[in-house]
């Protein structure tokens, strides 16, 4: 049930890209606003018609088919729930089943997204998070060959987003089709997606695992230096009594704000490059708890005062963005040994994932 997409257009937005998503895989399509990521989703759904488009889903070509004949589930940014229909009505209207089977399936989907108790409410009477769940249930009602999520978390506040992330993770076993998540949030992409593709000006800049994309200079250029960060893999070692969790990494011990994972669990941490300090000697009497040893692989000066330093830290790559002045002061060169300093509290919980 693979989805393969090839799009090309000049107007009204330039598009030239192709990619595939496997069954059960979630691809995060990341890019700045105006990069064309939503247009890609709309082209797959048949809501936008690029000059050339080849979309193949589940072995069938969708080229030339109108939207309602493409088995696509779409969650819109503002959810686009039908305002005159109840929660149950919004879901059952997208169902192919008739009669009693329809009601049973609608109730099953409602239960799946945890909305059984608001079945008879209108969308205007639901909270943002509940509306999003209705939108997801409606998208799944059609048993789609492809599920498209267009920035589905942008309309809810942070705490709600956290709950919805957990629910999407729990739903993943239901999602046997290819899934595309459009987002501009790298943390969201890291948390939910299996793979990432970075898009800019209608072209794919790079794609791969999050760790690969995070280190790709082409992606950095598109996503901006403030979002740049490497991904380290560590293992939960102990839960400390003072609200910290101790992680073990080949390059050293890391303390992070408590994460609720079993001891021994492998977690991925995204460390933003501008949160990493470098020192030529192991610093002592310093508030930062995490000091890990590394070797400089490369130093890339930027246009401004900064420079990006790539370090080998216990076999993984760590990025540090420091000033060129500091590079000179520390006498850093390729092959230099140095110490990376990380504040525990800079490693926000939403940057640590299983």
């Amino acid at each position: 049930m693979t989805l393969s997409v090839r799009l090309k257009a000049d107007l009204p937005i330039a598009l030239d890209l192709s990619f595939e998503v496997k069954a059960g895989e979630m691809l995060a399509l990341v890019g700045p606003s105006g990069s064309g990521k939503s247009t890609v989703l709309r082209s797959i759904a048949g809501l936008f018609h690029p000059a050339q488009s080849e979309v193949t889903a589940n072995g069938a070509s969708w080229s030339g088919l109108p939207t309602h004949q493409r088995r696509v589930g779409m969650v819109f940014q503002s959810y686009a729930l039908f305002p005159h229909l109840t929660t149950l009505g919004n879901i059952s209207i997208a169902l192919k089943e008739t009669g009693e089977a329809r009601t049973i399936e609608a109730r099953r989907l409602l239960k799946l997204v945890g909305l059984s108790d608001v079945a008879n409410r209108l969308p205007a009477e639901l909270s943002g998070g509940q509306q999003q769940r209705v939108a997801i249930a409606r998208a799944l009602a059609r048993k789609p060959d492809v599920l498209l999520l267009d920035e589905p978390f942008s309309a809810v506040d942070r705490p709600t987003r956290e709950i919805l992330y957990k629910e999407i993770e729990a739903l993943r076993s239901e999602l046997s089709m290819p899934v595309i998540l459009v987002t501009h949030d790298m943390d969201e992409a890291q948390r939910l997606a299996d793979r990432m593709a970075v898009i800019d000006k209608g072209r794919l800049v790079c794609q791969g695992s999050l760790a690969e994309v995070a280190l790709d200079p082409r992606a950095m250029r598109v996503l901006g230096l403030r979002e740049t960060g490497a991904v380290l893999t560590a293992r939960v070692k102990a839960q400390e009594t003072d609200g910290l969790t101790r992680l073990e990494h080949p390059a050293g011990v890391l303390f992070v704000p408590q994460i609720r994972e079993e001891i021994g669990t492998e977690v991925k941490l995204r460390l933003l490059a501008h949160d990493v300090m470098l020192a030529s000697q192991r610093p002592s009497e310093i508030s930062a708890l995490n000091v890990i040893e590394g070797t400089v692989l490369s130093i890339t000066p930027g246009d401004g005062p900064g420079a990006m330093v790539r370090l080998d830290a216990g076999g993984e790559i760590l990025l540090a963005r420091i000033t060129r002045r500091s590079v000179a002061a520390l006498g850093l060169n390729e092959g230099s040994k140095c110490f990376a300093v990380l504040k525990s509290l800079a490693i926000a919980r939403d940057r640590v994932h299983r």
């Binding site: 759904a45 048949g46 809501l47 109108p66 939207t67 309602h68 088995r71 696509v72 589930g73 779409m74 819109f76 503002s78 686009a80 729930l81 039908f82 305002p83 005159h84 209207i93 997208a94 192919k96 209108l122 205007a124 409606r138 998208a139 009602a141 059609r142």
Partner: protein, 222 residues
Amino acid sequence: MDWQALRLSLLLASLTVVILVPIAIFSGRRLALSKRKSLPIIEAMIALPLVLPPTVLGFYLLSAFGRSSPLGQIWQSVFGHTLAFSFEGLLLASIIVNIPFAVQPIQRGFEAVPQELREAAACSGMSPLMSLWKIELPLAWPAVLTGAVLTFAHTLGEFGVVLMVGGAIPGETKTIAISIYDKVQSFNSSSAAQMSAVLLAVSITTITLTFLMSRKIGRRLS
């Protein structure tokens, strides 16, 4: 009190609504979704009956319905009587005159339905016709109601065009508005007052019902 004229007016108004509203739904929706460059010209043509003096409109319709016009000749050969000065001719004229009253509010109603909802309907597997029936019409319903009521009320009150196209044949083309005029001309002011009062009551009732219903629907959806 000219009951025959009232009955005729109500029949004319009802038939005009029944025939025109479905046409207005399809054309209004098309116009609402249209991105053509010629859209303003089409909209201007639709609005034309609003600005044209009824006598001028009536004159052109009379010419188009007359025995010397192609339409009039075809009608004559098929039905054996002229289209002008007949109830059918009056109905056709009434439909044409009322196009802006029905189409404009309905077009606005469909324009107010967010494009995203149409897209969501298509993504939910609904064909354009299904989307119209299940999503767009229920949302644009107050606008359709407004179009229908405006058409109905306007048909009851239309004078100039009716006189030009229909003459004033009792039971065939003599509507209540013309009957009121006749009564005033023949100094029967008590009868004219009676009929005016009936027309006023009908108008107040329909327009109040419309506002109440669209308010109710609007509250349900907001």
